[in-house]
Amino acid sequence: MDRSESIRWGQLLALPLLVSGLLLLGSQFVFLKQSIYIDLPFGKIASDWSFANFRRIATDPFYLRTLWLTTWISAAVAGVCVILGFPIAKTLARLQSRWATLLLSLIVLTSFITTVIQIFGLLILFRGDGLINQMLMGLGLIQQPFTLIGTSAGVVLGLVYASFGFSVMLMYGIVRTIPVSLEEAAAIHGASRLRVFRKVLLPLCLPGLVVGFLTIFNTSMGAFTSAALLGGGRVITLPVLIQRTMLLDVKYGMAAALAALLLAFVVILNLASVMVLRRLRHAQGVMA
């Protein structure tokens, strides 16, 4: 084909790269730079740079405890979503019925609704005189009404609601890429359902599940609705701390430093996981 007549696909990238590159560099550069200036009163920052903000984060156990709290909450959320969601995703991916479409639509719907609305519902359900407390006390399971607000369990629950639909959608896509004939072949040769699941489907899905876990972990590390509304000021995760430092304490430098810590932590953890995953796949390939 005549070269002048064919489309140079690479050139199509010019405008998108310009826009995305400017937004990426502009935003990330400014806040990363801000993180090395210490705060003065009234939202002013010092004129000389130093690593004082980071030194304070590294030496004050409060900040490290917050990072640890955010990490384990996010890991718990990702674990719950993957473990509870996978049977749903797997069944829906293999179900040949109109029910599958309806149930999938409901799953998609929950991810199209802002977490704030779901947490609104949770707040009503779990109120002192709410439905859940009434039911549990009616059954005699608890004597006193309990509350979710201010507990890390409540924050985890809110985050699970925020990510569950998305995690099922993700895992549904993964199961669909695995030919059903592999499971059928194993079943014909006498493998039980559980064995087919354990020996065929699960190993094939595993890399996808790890990616799914990481995606939800990432989302939860940066989410703040659940902790802000259900944490009740007692469960302070890193995103909530960043928002407070920025908007309530007007300490721009410290807020930027905390955000830099969160960003670095998530990016490094992701890179490490990608490398482990690659090695895992390589090892599997060698074994096969």
Binding site: Q118, F120, G121, F224
Partner: protein, 283 residues
């Protein structure tokens, strides 16, 4: 004998599966049902005690819908228009980007791909604070302040949403059958005409899916908008967030139900236009 045992084992398994589905979907949808149900619930007596809402409702009413505060209606409108603008702009950027990434043959493609998809790796709250500080700095330099403006929100959401369009269009492009294009060109169509008349229509479901996700990213976001919004230009999730932080008002149930109802319409439209399979496959 054996087949009967096999069948009953299968029946037991099925029963277990159904029970699990009923449990998960009940738990998953309960908050939504409570919000929508509560929005139609009349207070026990006629003196309006706003801090109390009956669920399940004893008497039905539409009074909370009539009392939705103007600020919440305004925020619903902002969220809707903002989502549309973000979906459109993200598609205009994301479609050429996906074409370039999938079909281009040149050095440095990996780096470009990393730059274009970087927003997916950045925690949302970090995006929020980063854009707010960018706007402060930009405003100090140019006297043109973007924080608290619609344009500022739009740029922040565009940043988050574009990778979703690139992702779903790339997925569809990778499955594209090049013979279709070869046929068009053999019949005398120019490359650009082929792109416009053959390629784009074939990848349209991927574009629609990406645009839908872009809309949703903007429509449900809190951690970015909470930094960039102001009292005048606030999105619905942020408005509702502040309403929940302060005081419980049943009118919030009504506006939340409106947003949920709109999401139902979106899911139905998506199911009609591209089907669940494409929607879930081209992520």
């Amino acid at each position: 004998m054996r087949s009967a045992a096999f069948r009953s084992a299968l029946g037991g398994w099925r029963l277990l599966t159904v029970a699990y589905f009923v449990f998960i979907f009940t738990v998953l949808l309960a908050p939504l049902v409570v919000v929508i149900g509560g929005s139609f619930s009349a207070p026990a007596n006629d003196t309006v005690i706003v801090s109390y809402i009956q669920f399940p409702p004893e008497r039905l009413t539409l009074q909370w819908y009539a009392r939705i505060p103007a600020s919440q209606l305004h925020a619903l409108g902002v969220s809707f228009v903002l989502g549309l603008a973000v979906a459109l702009a993200a598609s205009l950027i994301g479609v050429p980007a996906a074409l370039g990434l999938v079909r281009g043959r040149f050095r440095g493609k990996t780096l470009m791909s990393i730059i274009l998809k970087a927003p997916l790796q950045i925690p949302h709250v970090v995006c929020g604070i980063a854009f707010l500080q960018l706007y402060y700095r930009f405003g100090d330099a140019t006297n043109f302040y973007l924080q608290g403006t619609n344009l500022g929100l739009f740029l922040g959401h565009l940043f988050l949403a574009t990778p979703f369009v690139i992702g779903s269009v790339s997925t569809v492009l990778l499955r594209f059958n090049p013979r279709l294009e070869e046929a068009a060109q053999a019949l005398g169509a120019s490359p650009w005409r082929t792109l416009w008349r053959v390629t784009l229509p074939v990848i349209a479901p991927g574009i629609f899916t990406g645009a839908l996700y872009a809309f949703i990213v903007s429509f449900v976001d809190v951690p970015v908008a909470v930094f960039l919004a102001s009292a005048d230009t606030t999105t619905f999730p942020v408005e509702l967030f502040h309403a929940l932080e302060q005081d419980f008002n049943p009118s919030s149930l009504a506006s939340a139900s409106l947003a949920a109802g709109f999401a139902v319409l979106l899911v139905m439209a998506a199911q009609r236009l591209v089907g669940m399979e494409t929607l879930l496959h081209s992520k």
